[in-house]
Amino acid sequence: MMQGNPLLEIKDLTVEYITNAGTIKALDRINLTINKSEFLGIVGESGSGKSTLAYATIGLLPPNSRISAGRITFDGKDLLKASSKEINSLRGRRISMVFQDPTTSLNPVFKIEEQVCRVIQQHKAVNRQIARAMALKQLANVELPEANHILKLYPFELSGGMQQRVMIAMSLSLNPDLVIADEPTSAVDATIQFQILELLSRLRHSQNFSMLFITHNIDIVSKVCDRVAIMYAGSVVEEGPSQEVFSNPKHPYTQALMKSIPRPRKSIAETKRLNVIEGSIPDLISPPKGCKFHPRCPYAYSRCQREEPELKEITVNRKVACHLY
Amino acid sequence: MKPLLGDRIFLAGAMIIGIMLFIAIFAPWISPYPAQGEGQTVPNVCPSISPAGVCPPSFSHIFGTEQGGRDLLSRIFFGIRTSILVSFLVVMLAMGIGMAVGLTAGYFGGLVDEALMRITDIFLAIPHILLALNIVAILGPGLIDVFIALGVTWWPAFARLARSQAIAIRNRPFVMVAKAMGISSRQIVLKHILPNSISPLLVQMSIDLGAVVLAEAGLSFIGLGVRPPTADLGQMIFAAIDFITTSWWVALFPGLFLTLLVLGFNMIGDAMRDRFDPRLRRQF
């Protein structure tokens, strides 16, 4: 397990959105760390706050948001206190992001060459020729065939999988320390998804970067991430090595989630019915008192209604936020 | 609606138009000299200053008088009446025709679309001044002439807008489902396509209200519109040309009110456009 100086440290981060209907607490005292060369998966459903976490880290929160508490430290530097000039120089160079839908994150009116080179030239004082050579290398790195040809194309001339590889190439072009990926394979076909995940694993070893991998898809996380944090309604409810968390989930939400995933039946005797988590996601404007999951939890008892559980370490490297432990 | 009311530009525009509407509706009661507003001939109150009867502002006539001695303020009030009446009627007519043509063309496509759009193109090409000229030649000047000339030439823009909306919406799943259910085309266009197309049309409408006011004033300015003694802002400005160097009030005040009126409509239109920008995908 990777020990040593954490690359990214999020402490007690609380983010709120101000809306007409009230204040939404999207993140509630989040504590997370990512070490160097580590892939951390964030798994959660709608309202879990996983996207907010990503955007807060890279500094792209919408104007109606408010970081009411907490600290994000990147390689020793406090991101929340940094000037916008400092953040801009970090973005793209040391922290980069891969978004979900490549069709909207690539500018449709510019050729690929233009877009990749622009990223490179933004941070490195090189001329176009050198930038182009670097771009070519990056495209080859992400296993895009005929990289020379691709540079001359417009995004719409590429398939979804290829576009996403271009995005990955762009985000890795300056050798960042941290890549934030927000559902990078959701908009792409299953077989291509597989390819991209394998690509990411391979690149990780060759280029040595950390990744904050956000998704709702548990299967993907277990393939690619060392550690995983499960989020629910703005809090981290469970954390640990991904293989362990999924083979032995501790938090009732994680357990229920895993049981509710459909799987192909193995025999005709097996029922088609799925195990369901009753109820729905809590209202984040006025969440339930105590543990936010307790209205839906089969194990809830009186303490769960009064007191919100802290995320604490129950065994080595395993953290759970639940009164049962 | 609430965010719209919170928008300062909208509020400012709405206030202006609210006042104008009030003036238009209650002109006979709030004008200092309602009869003069309607065109009554009056004796010259300042023969020594101006033989034509163009008197400067005074206590009895706050904005002065126009040529012929009529109280300018009252004339303006009645002029606003004309402007608003015409613009509302024209825009309503234009929207009505435009939506009917555009939604039909957009929804049915094919030959229907081609035919309707070519007709629309023809009307789009007609300059309203030219048309007005011809109608005046046939029917004589007056409100009807303005109404027809503007109404007939204004609807194509609405038709185009409605058509593009219909095209965008007709392939949406909820329309497909309605078709599959066996709902008639007429019902689909009226109940599904129309309500979902209305936002940009409303924006266009509010901006056009201002534009029609100007167009109407323009027509009257060149003599193709409403004739005296009916009060009309454009006509008043035209008449003021002769006196512009000596009697600043005759051109200034009508012009000011005309500007305010158009500004008010434009502000509402702008605020609505910002609100209902389709890229932001907000709904009524």
Partner: protein
Amino acid sequence: MSKFIIVKDLKKYYPSGTFFNRRKIKAVDDVSFEIDKRESFGLVGESGSGKTTLGLCLMRLLEPTSGKIFIEDQDFTSMKGKKFKEFRASRFSIVYQNPLSSLDPSWTVEQTLMEPLTVNSSFSKAEARTIVQQALANVGLQPYMLTRFPHELSGGQAQRVAIARALMNKPKIVILDEPTSALDVSVQAQLLNLLLDLQERHGLTYLFISHDLNVVGNICDRIAVMYLGKIVELGDAIELFNVPMHPYTQSLVSTISEVSVKFVRYKLKGEPPNPLNPPFGCRFHTRCPYATPICGEEEPKMVEVSPGHFVACHNLELVKSGLIQTKERAALME
């Protein structure tokens, strides 16, 4: 008694290209299959496979270019005019992926649910209202939702409304086009259970279109796997997942974690080819680890490898063993 739904040689071609270079996109190319009453038939494939097009053609929301569809022994494809519309409206319903675009955003839930009742029926206002309330309850929603607009509902709630609407005309066949793909995992579970309950209660036949193999493998009785407009494999769901025969099916199945794979996992090379320019011969051969020269020359025919299990592949023997360790094959697998 023949099958409930019979599809024969269905084609859907789109014209494309320029005046001088006329081409056709063969979105659905010569597809044949049958569906039993009360069956959940899964249609699986990636984007460009033609599965959605096929689903829409089945209902004739898109008109097939050629081919036949028989429903209850009646020739559905030849029907025209009023008879066609009435037949379709009484037999079919469709549930789309995104409820925010399949529900009219300017209509309340009540209006949406009332709409199917306005066709061909003479319900009084009060009767209609009762039916609508009952329909809402049947999908697990509260009466207060009647006055809501789609954007005021959560994804799961909106999709339940879409399902309730789909059942208002008492259909026999429901086409479900990725009905849970836009939903959270936990919401998906609730909705899938709901669909199962409703199917049992009303004796519905489902055509379940999805790219999500886990869902299809769980819910469906029989599955057809599509690739670039053709069905490459067709058979019982459990058998298909345990013994996938077509190389494409194998690669799809290998992307799912918990399936016991008796064959080696591999990843497909290359990109899905352009539907405008599909490979000659077997459409899959450019990415197939078992490809041999004949695959590039001749399209394989569907062969019944076991009762009810059909595959279209030239090299079934090779694939069956699944363990060829040729140098090329080994090179493909990492």
